[in-house]
């Protein structure tokens, strides 16, 4: 019979995040160091860079697409390293697992989307980026 098992008290760790410790001693803060600030600044800088590229039509459409994707990839990589600290240590393993699980999703959704648009452009659409080149940017106004 399992009576003795049943009545045993669990003296395990309490995982609830409420704690009375100093904020600066919180493991997340300890882990952060300058990495968080660096990741933030780098993210803003890379986003600013891509904004400039697009705004000034700095490259031809195909090159622009490649450049933006490259910058996005770089940004994602920096965040993984600086912000998420992807490692296999006990504290970080779940972050790493969660992120790795995202990868097939990215491939699935982005891959299928590109496949879909590829066919769609050929069949029905003007290439929008080319179209944008033909037209000079004009301020958007609501109809009166």
């Amino acid at each position: 019979m399992g009576i003795h098992v049943h009545l045993r008290v669990f003296a395990g760790r309490d995982y609830m995040t409420e704690s009375n410790h100093s904020t600066f001693e919180h493991p997340e803060v300890q882990l952060a160091g300058t990495g968080y600030v660096a990741a933030y600044v780098a993210g803003i800088a890379l986003m600013g860079l891509s904004l400039m590229l697009v705004k000034d039509h700095a490259l031809d459409p195909t090159a622009l697409g490649i450049a933006i994707s490259g910058i996005a990839g770089l940004a994602a990589l920096l965040q993984c390293v600086l912000l998420l600290h992807m490692t296999l240590s006990r504290t970080q393993i779940w972050q790493t697992v969660a992120l790795v699980l995202f990868v097939p999703l990215f491939i699935l959704t982005i891959g299928l989307t590109s496949w879909m648009f590829h066919g769609l452009y050929q069949r029905t659409m003007l290439r929008p980026i080319a179209a944008s080149q033909a037209m000079a940017p004009a301020p958007l106004r609501a109809p009166r």
Partner: protein, 693 residues
């Protein structure tokens, strides 16, 4: 940098002006008066019963997962009512506006709603029902049950849990505010581009829709993270993955979906915001914009979202059926794999919402096949439920009635879904009311599961059972209403009626539209029985009190603790021995075994900060809708400040000494017949910040 908008704008009030209050619209004025009267009555009652203190201390500032769950459910019910009123208006308008000779009232040429107003109603109906009724109801139920089912004291992040709740509440409040200040969107619940772009929707309607959506989706993402962390990290000793209650598995798979897909809609809406506020061209019809990009992004979230709402419903059905068949669930592992399978497939089917866009045939074929593949795990589930019932000792108490009727809707909804899944077929029915009927079957399945679940777990949360006689009448009338509304709707769909018509050009559709009105009247009648059920349940609560196991044959862990559940959930963290722990203990005569040693319990303190964050979120969204920049900046600053302040607060948790736990447990045993004053619904009130008991 900001895009130019036509019309007046002032630095102080933005686009807001007295003319934005629709005081000339009798329907809205009536609604406003109703809301005011309701508010006065509620405030009056709260004052009369001296409930303000309890309201503030035990509810608004609570971080208790059970109370947060109850508040989620209340928001869901209020919004369900609002969405239902929208439905009544749509049904009556369509029945009145048939043929060129139909009369017009209240400025409308036909019927009583102008096209602009009608469009806002169906947009609000869909947005509300999916985001502010179904989602909060299910999130509320998950909030209450998951910690109890895994033997935890609360969620992994109780404070974050309250933040999620109040963000959802802020979104719901924003939708409600749009009734009386300005307009709501008129571009459908999923948003039609480029109609949502500024030139075509220069008003504030789309902005209301967009920010309300945004608030709730951020709330749900945070809630998803919380539930996942809870399930992964907070399980009691012995609660292995193979013993996890099936509803918790369903919640796990549902929240994997919310974690991975809600961010997509956040981005999709953020890009729309950039278009509408900064004049970018993500979704415009020219200048490099791409209309289909919006549909793509929206439905990458949209389809998984429908599985996000159905998986918890499946989970509830899977808990209810074994209890009332008095047998363990058939094919537990199959159920688990099927839930994860549905979550997995849900990411690869979204394009079926725009088959008619004219993607290449191979693309449509691919998505047809993936969509049909969803039928496999779903079929596994249906057979498992059937085998659970097979040769069971079936009892048709109310929860079982709702749960088994839900299976019928799964059948109708699933099969019509399969019909839509053939891209060729879909060219016939897309944008017709056939599709509308399909997804209402699916959403009604969820509603049935929710009613079943509420009836089933109500005694666990409140300590007494709901009345069954009026409950049954509610069930039958609700079911009759469903049949009378949706059979004609399927028929009209086959006859070619497109959705969202404010005027119906074909008089031969009149009879079927009239039948639908009869159906909605039956729904209204059924609501009276729901009210009667709740009233009688409350009145007779003393007779209907239950012990730990409200149904006598329940199986999972939540049934071993008291009903109503004390605020600390379990006196000592339970040790789990079996998949159906409650039955395991029951079979070994351990029902009344009391712990010999009590331990200190570590609990989070209540806090008003989440409520403040919700209020500021509402303020920020409202300011953005009306382009009141100073207010937007102020609210953003205050949000950041509050978050930082909270991060530096100490004493956010307290400990209940073991002897106090013991005393409370003994009091409870002695006072079992007569509930203590402290036994407020949903558990006893938590002690004050930092204090003992």
């Amino acid at each position: 940098m900001l895009v130019h908008i036509d019309g007046p704008w002032s630095p102080l009030l933005g686009r807001l002006a007295l003319t934005e209050i629709p005081y000339k619209n009798p329907i809205l004025v009536g609604t406003f008066l109703f809301a005011v009267v309701l508010a006065v009555v509620l405030v009056g009652l709260t004052t009369y019963f001296g409930f303000w203190r309890t309201l503030w201390r035990d509810w608004l500032t609570s971080v208790d997962h059970k109370k947060i769950g109850i508040m989620y459910i209340l928001i869901g019910l209020v919004m369900l009512f609002r969405g239902f009123i929208d439905a009544v208006m749509m049904r009556t308008q369509q029945a009145m506006a048939v043929g060129p000779h139909s009369a017009g009232y209240l400025d409308a040429v036909h019927g009583y709603l102008t096209p602009y107003h009608f469009d806002q109603i169906y947009t609000a109906h869909g947005t509300i029902m999916i985001l502010f009724a179904a989602t909060p109801l299910l999130v509320g139920i998950m909030n209450i049950l998951v910690p109890l089912q895994i033997g935890a004291r609360d969620m992994a992040y109780p404070y974050l849990n309250a933040v999620s709740l109040w963000l959802t509440a802020a979104g719901a409040a924003l939708v409600m505010a749009s009734l009386f200040i300005g307009d709501f969107a008129h571009a459908g619940w999923f948003g039609i581009v480029p109609v949502m772009e500024l030139p075509y929707s220069p008003g504030v309607g789309v902005d209301y829709w967009m920010w309300a959506f945004q608030l709730s989706s951020i709330g749900t993402t945070l809630g998803g993270i919380n539930l996942l962390a809870t399930i992964v990290k907070m399980r009691a000793p012995g609660m292995t993955w193979g013993r996890l209650p099936i509803f918790t598995w369903a919640s796990l798979s549902a929240n994997l979906i919310s974690l991975t897909t809600f961010p997509v809609v956040t981005v999709a809406l953020a890009l729309l915001a950039l278009d509408r506020y900064l004049g970018t061209h993500f979704y415009t019809a020219g200048l490099g914009g791409n209309l289909m990009l919006y549909n793509d992004l929206f439905w990458i979230w949209g389809h998984p979202e429908v599985y996000f709402v159905i998986l918890p419903a499946f989970g509830m059905i899977s808990e209810i059926i074994p209890t009332f068949a008095e047998k363990p669930l058939f094919g537990y592992m199959g159920m688990v794999v099927a839930s994860l399978g549905i979550a997995g497939v849900s990411w690869g089917v979204w394009l079926h919402h725009f088959f008619t866009m004219a993607a290449a045939p191979a693309v449509n074929a691919f998505f047809s096949i993936t969509t049909m593949a969803v039928g496999i795990p779903t079929g596994v589930k249906v057979f498992n439920w059937a085998f659970t019932m097979f040769r069971g000792r079936l009892r048709f108490d109310l929860p079982m009635m709702w749960a088994s009727a839900a299976l019928f809707f799964l059948l109708v909804g699933g099969l019509t879904g399969m019909m839509n899944a053939f891209a060729t077929n879909d060219y016939m029915v897309h944008n017709s009311v056939f599709v509308v009927a399909h997804f209402h079957m699916m959403l009604l399945l969820i509603v049935y599961a929710i009613f079943g679940g509420v009836n089933y777990w109500f005694p666990k949360v409140f300590g007494f059972r709901l009345e069954q006689r009026f409950g049954r009448m509610f069930f039958w009338l609700f079911t009759a209403g469903t049949a009378v509304v949706f059979v004609p709707m399927f028929t009209l769909g086959f006859m070619g009626m497109t959705r969202r018509l404010d005027y119906v050009a074909f008089p031969q559709w009149q009879p079927l539209l009239d039948i639908e009105v009869v159906g909605i009247v039956i729904y209204v009648l059924s609501a009276a029985f729901l009210v009667a059920q709740l009233y009688v349940s409350l009145r007779d609560r003393a007779q209907n009190r239950v012990g730990a196991d409200a149904w006598g044959t329940s199986r999972s862990l939540e049934w071993i603790t008291h009903s109503p559940v004390p605020f600390y959930n379990f006196a000592v963290t339970p040790e789990v021995h079996a998949r159906d722990e409650r039955s395991w203990r029951h079979e070994r005569g351990l029902d009344d075994a009391a712990p010999v040693v009590y331990e200190d319990i570590h609990m989070p303190c209540k806090t008003a900060i989440p409520l403040g964050l919700g209020a500021l979120g509402f303020g920020l969204a409202f300011a953005l809708v009306w382009r009141i920049w100073w207010l937007a900046l102020l609210c953003s600053g205050a949000i950041v400040a509050l978050i930082v302040i909270r991060a530096f607060m100490t004493g956010t948790s307290y400990t209940i000494p073991a002897r106090d736990v013991e005393k409370m447990e003994h009091d409870r045993k002695r006072g079992a017949a007569k509930p203590a004053r402290a036994q407020v619904p949903g558990g006893s009130p938590a002690p004050v910040l930092g204090g003992g008991t």
